[in-house]
């Protein structure tokens, strides 16, 4: 099984898994969500490489081992993905996104038609009528958000993540806590949520469908942040989207059910043939 390397490029830290026998398909670009890092793809990336594809996953600025690059807004993250792509020379890639990685990555894909040759969405949304969940609303609220991020310690992070996922080991929690360890990082989290106005997606109506690329909506059945109805919404907006809802998995299904997720993604990418 190919291993994971941690590298630096385009101003970001990233993980890469390289195939021993490249099959000539597009590489796969994986964008993590909140409050995670590219470490969330640790199970999936070697499987993608074993199937003959190069897998590349940046830590978005302020998360994992990438330094914050204030302000940590949605738009700045979209721009960071663009710079990362250019620095690594990723002309076309299959895109795998989760949570905020979806809001960021799908916006980037729509802004750059042709950049994504297939898309896997999970635990996210991309629609102007979207509504934030309660915790996000707290992060978006002056005062409440500051309290939430500044008050989090490793014990609280552990309890928080384990309340909503069963796959979080100690190492994962240490990895994901990095985003909360500096004042700049914590501010970046607030910047991100406070820039997350779904109205900004108004100009993107219909754009995902126009990309005309194969899409898989991979969802945890018990997702309390982005309920599975979101998967069907993607299929409604992008006809032909495959929907896979994973039982006994929640929002963090890549942690809860890593083998099943890897199998679904690898098989989909094989079918998509990009």
């Amino acid at each position: 099984m190919p291993g994971l390397e941690v590298k630096q490029g385009g101003g970001l830290s990233y993980r890469e898994a390289s195939p021993e026998r490249p099959a000539g398909d597009d590489p796969v670009l994986l964008l993590h969500g909140f409050p995670e890092s590219s470490y969330m793809w640790r199970h999936l990336m070697p499987e993608i490489a074993a199937a003959g594809r190069r897998a590349i996953a940046p830590d978005l600025p302020g998360y994992g081992d990438s330094a914050p690059d204030p302000p940590g807004t949605w738009e700045r993250h979209v721009a960071a993905v663009g710079r990362f792509r250019a620095a690594l020379g990723l002309e076309r890639a299959a895109l795998v996104v989760h949570d905020w990685g979806g809001l960021i990555g799908l916006r980037w894909a729509c802004d750059n038609p042709g950049a994504a040759s297939a898309i896997v969405v999970s635990g996210t949304g991309f629609f102007p009528d979207g509504k934030w969940h309660g915790m996000a609303n707290m992060l978006r609220t002056e005062g409440e958000g500051e309290q939430l991020v500044s008050g989090l310690d490793p014990t609280g992070m552990t309890r928080m993540l384990r309340a909503v996922g069963r796959g979080f080991g100690d190492q994962a929690i240490d990895e994901y806590f990095k985003a909360f360890t500096s004042a700049e990082g914590r501010q970046g989290i607030l910047d991100l949520y406070r820039s997350g106005d779904f109205e900004k997606l108004e100009p993107y109506r219909g754009k995902l469908a126009e990309l005309g690329v194969p899409m898989l909506a991979l969802w945890g059945e018990d997702d309390v942040f982005a309920p599975p109805a979101g998967a069907y919404r993607f299929r409604k907006e992008v006809p032909g989207t495959e929907v896979v809802v994973i039982e006994d998995a929640g929002h963090f299904m890549f942690e809860d059910a890593p083998e099943r997720c890897a199998r679904e993604v690898v098989e989909f990418l094989g079918r998509a043939g990009s």
Binding site: H133, G134, M135, N137, M138, T141, G143, E144, E146, Q147, L148, S150, G151, L152, D153, T155, G156, M157, T158, R159, M160, L161, R162, A163, V164, D222, V224, F225, G250, H251
Partner: protein, 272 residues
């Protein structure tokens, strides 16, 4: 100045301040979330000095009272009634704050408690009430568990420090007790999840019909229980006295304890 004693009645820990010469109805003080009877530490001696016995329980799961699952609104109402019987209170002045208002006013109406005065502070009691962001998040399955689990003592210290000016390290230690164990955290979620304001529909207008002298005492800058609610209590309860404490927030009793004690003692002296 009278002192405060820590006591226990069955499973309920409580604070009591006893005057040298009690000459009026006792005062029952019911704390809110995430606090305990420690929040009344400034007020209780002042009440005793004014000749009133002052009794403040720690609701089950808060302060020094162990949880008594489930930690729902209704269970707290029951616990308060058991406490009243255990300590032998009959006619009382009721002073409440935050969740202590939701619990104790429901209790007083359910059990037709004879009240000789009522002090309402930074709470709500309206069937069309809406939960603030924190309340909504705690009420949401999964998210509430994540949120309550995320809280650390330092996090609570930060939160209270941002919300109010009167929280010292002892206060944080005291209020942290409400989060300190798994069953207590579970109780907090049960409390918020049982907090459907629609349950107050049968009580509409009843506070006003009690005909009890009422003081509405409110910290002006409150995002949780906005000052609009103070004006609404004032409108809905005939002859209520309204005191808005400027410069104070949700935790008005911590922010401006002297002013609060002065207002309450004056209100009681005027026949409240």
């Amino acid at each position: 100045m009278s002192g405060i004693e820590l006591k226990r009645a069955d499973n309920i820990a409580y604070r009591e301040a006893i005057p040298d010469d009690a000459h009026d109805d006792p005062v029952l003080l019911v704390h809110g979330f995430p606090q305990s009877s420690y929040m009344w530490r400034h007020l209780m001696p002042a009440l005793a000095d004014a000749g009133r016995r002052a009794v403040g329980p720690d609701l089950p799961g808060y302060g020094d009272s162990p949880p008594d699952p489930p930690g729902t609104w209704e269970r707290h109402v029951d616990a308060l009634e058991r406490f009243r019987r255990d300590v032998g209170l009959d006619r009382v002045v009721l002073i409440n704050h935050d969740w202590g208002g939701l619990i104790s006013m429901r209790w007083a109406l359910d059990h037709s408690i004879p009240l000789s005065g009522l002090v309402i502070s930074n709470t709500g009691f309206f069937p069309d009430g809406e939960w603030h962001g924190l309340g909504r998040a705690l009420r949401t399955q999964g998210q509430g568990e994540a949120l309550i689990g995320s809280m650390s003592r330092e996090g609570l210290a930060d939160m209270l420090g941002q919300l109010g000016s009167g929280f010292d390290s002892d206060a944080v230690d005291e209020y942290w007790k409400g989060y300190a164990t798994e069953d207590r955290r579970r109780g907090v979620l049960e409390l918020f999840r049982s907090g459907d304001f629609s349950k107050l529909a049968p009580y509409a207008g009843e506070l006003g019909e009690l005909g009890v002298p009422t003081l509405v005492l409110w910290g002006e800058n409150d995002d949780y229980a906005p000052v609009d609610s103070a004006h609404r209590f004032d409108r809905e309860i005939p002859h209520a006295r309204l005191v808005i404490v400027e410069g104070a927030g949700h935790f008005v009793w911590e922010d401006d304890p002297e002013r609060c004690a002065r207002e309450v003692v004056a209100f009681l002296g005027d026949g409240g």
